[in-house]
């Protein structure tokens, strides 16, 4: 059963929408949300956490919309894991972890710290006295304190060294919770998410099983993202869109038609019409020219 679901959600700050009409099911096996900075990933995460109310559309929690749902139960079920910097700099980390615990359960702090692989003695430290990896573990322990069924992970490893990243990923993979993972790191998604959604300029441009999606991207943007990942011993990666016709590798998203067309190597006149999100070979893609993509 899907615990949390977005249905036609449009989100924004003030009047300006930054996420347009996104539908997304957080299904079992982990869901990845991939996209570059500014694509609306974090905004979507805030909506899933009930921190931001959609301009239109609904977030469904079980069979209720978030507006009407029992927030107390929701808060117990859904917890965020933000970056390591999401600890109050003035608070001892043990207190941060204990923040959600009732008074009689404070002794569980040590247990929780051990669960995330930390020495319980670290509870007396403040965040700046810990390493980045340790801080990230504290953040995870804090989220686990209420016994959530779903973790919303917003770039949980982006600020960490690669070796530390790997250990945090081990920890996350071993947790008995569902997860929505937000990242620009494809390797992380591959490891932790059965399903993935690619977001560009606040729109889902492609979604499907993570393995397929990365092996045979249907959308030119997904391909550009994948090809931008450097491989050891391989040739240097092509910058995303270096092959783009317009040469605008950093072009801003188009405001009409397909938002990606200014960077897209396959851009054609038809792309001035907004592409619908359509079924294509077991996944959904928003591209007029998905069938014309080179096989890779």
């Amino acid at each position: 059963m899907t615990l949390l679901r977005a249905e036609g959600v449009t989100l924004g700050y003030g009047r300006r929408p930054v996420v347009h009409d996104v539908s997304l099911d957080i299904t079992e096996g982990g869901v990845g949300l991939i996209g570059e900075s500014g694509s609306g990933k974090t905004t979507l995460a805030r909506a899933f956490l009930g921190l931001l109310t959609p301009i239109s559309g609904n977030i469904w929690y079980g069979d209720q919309t978030l507006k009407k749902a029992d927030l107390r139960a929701f808060r117990k079920d859904v917890q965020p894991v933000f970056q390591a910097e999401s600890l109050d700099p003035r608070m001892r980390v043990g207190r941060s972890v204990a923040e959600a615990l009732p008074r009689h359960a404070r002794h569980r702090v040590a247990e929780l710290l051990e669960q995330v692989g930390l020495d319980p003695a670290l509870a007396a430290r403040r965040p700046h006295e810990l390493s980045g990896g340790q801080r990230q573990r504290v953040v995870i322990a804090r989220a686990l304190a209420v016994g959530p069924r779903l973790l919303i992970l917003d770039e949980p490893t982006s600020a960490l060294d690669v070796t530390v990243q790997a250990r945090i990923l081990d920890l996350l993979a071993g947790l008995d919770t569902e997860r929505l993972l937000i990242t620009h790191n494809l390797a992380v998604v591959e490891r932790l998410c059965r399903t993935s959604y690619v977001l560009f300029a606040g729109r889902v441009v492609e979604s499907g099983p993570t393995g397929d999606l990365l092996a045979k991207p249907a959308h030119p943007y997904t391909r550009a993202l994948r090809d931008a990942v450097p491989k050891l011993g391989g040739p240097p990666p092509e910058a995303s869109g270096r092959t783009g016709r317009t040469g605008h590798t950093e072009a801003v998203p188009a405001t009409t038609g397909c938002p990606y067309r200014l960077r897209c190597p396959l851009a054609a006149p038809v792309c001035e019409q907004p592409p619908p999100l359509r079924e294509l070979g077991g996944r959904r893609v928003a591209c007029h020219r998905a069938e014309d993509a080179p096989v890779s």
């Binding site: 921190l51 003035r90 804090r142």
Partner: protein, 283 residues
């Protein structure tokens, strides 16, 4: 600065980053000590009137001379410091308590609640501060408590503004979001996270303002609306001595100097704190 700084220098916290601020801090400590220890330091009893020793110039007997009724000026300055510092502390405590409470609530809550609080604040800011204090001091009975009330009424809105803007930025930090997601009630979030992380600029402002409050209190006393005889208060001393300035300068000059030095010390310390706590200089 040399490399082998003495241990004392190294052990001084970041609060005293430069010599000016350290100088201000030392001066404030001295002024506070002098005020607190006035009964022991003062060479004469506070209200001892010696009609035969009126308007004596500074001498070994009376370092700062005597006033128009023959009281020792140094003694009255030492005691006067108690009044002035007490007024400053009380005004700042009341202003900060009221202002910061409203400010962090407004900053955290945002939306309509913030609009209401900030508009009320704007109304108070729209009054010319000294005029509002004057009006209040005229309506109420002159005296130290009136001075405190009158100044505090015009002072708190600045703290509301300051802390509202700081709190609004703290409210967007991920640790505040995390606390909200954990279901921590808003008043507790404000108390545990927003308030402690908003206090630094308030402390700087308090230090910068202390001098201003002392000056304002002196001005009100000078205008006859503040402390009343026989209370020793610096502004009052200047007012009572003003006609004598050309003939008996010490009656006015020494209390004036006390006001100047104290206000200066607080300003210098405040500036130093502001520099030391500037986020661009942190780490």
């Amino acid at each position: 600065m040399t490399h082998d700084a003495p241990p004392l220098r190294r052990s001084l916290p970041r609060l005293l980053p430069d010599r000016f601020a350290a100088f201000g801090a030392v001066l404030i400590v001295l002024v506070v000590l002098a005020a607190v220890l006035a009964p022991w330091l003062a060479p004469y009893p506070l209200d001892e009137v010696r009609p035969l020793e009126r308007l004596r110039p500074p001498s070994a007997e009376h370092w700062f001379g005597t006033d128009q009724v023959g009281r020792d000026v140094l003694t009255r300055i030492l005691y006067g410091g108690r009044t002035s510092l007490f007024i400053a502390a009380a005004v700042l405590a009341v202003s900060a308590l009221a202002g910061v409470t409203l400010g962090v609530v407004a900053g955290y809550a945002g939306g309509r609640l913030r609009d209401v609080i900030m508009r009320v604040t704007d109304v108070f800011l729209a009054f010319p501060a000294l005029l509002l204090s004057l009006a209040l001091a005229v309506v109420l009975q002159p005296g130290v408590n009136t001075v405190i009330l009158a100044i505090a009424v015009t002072w708190w809105p600045w703290y509301t503004r300051l802390s509202a803007s700081v709190a609004a930025s703290i409210a967007t930090r991920p640790y505040v979001d995390a606390a909200r997601c954990l279901g921590v009630p808003a008043p507790l979030i404000i108390l545990r996270h927003v308030l402690p992380n908003s206090l630094t600029p308030v402390l700087v402002q308090l230090s910068l303002d202390a001098g201003g409050v002392i000056l304002t209190a002196a001005a009100l006393s000078y205008l006859g609306l503040g402390a009343q005889e026989p209370t020793a208060e610096w502004g009052l001393m200047v007012q009572q001595g003003q006609t004598l300035f050309t003939t008996n300068w010490w009656v006015v000059a020494f209390p004036g100097l006390a006001i100047l030095l104290t206000a200066f010390a607080f300003n210098v310390l405040g500036e130093g704190l502001r520099g030391a706590l500037d986020p661009r200089r942190v780490r």
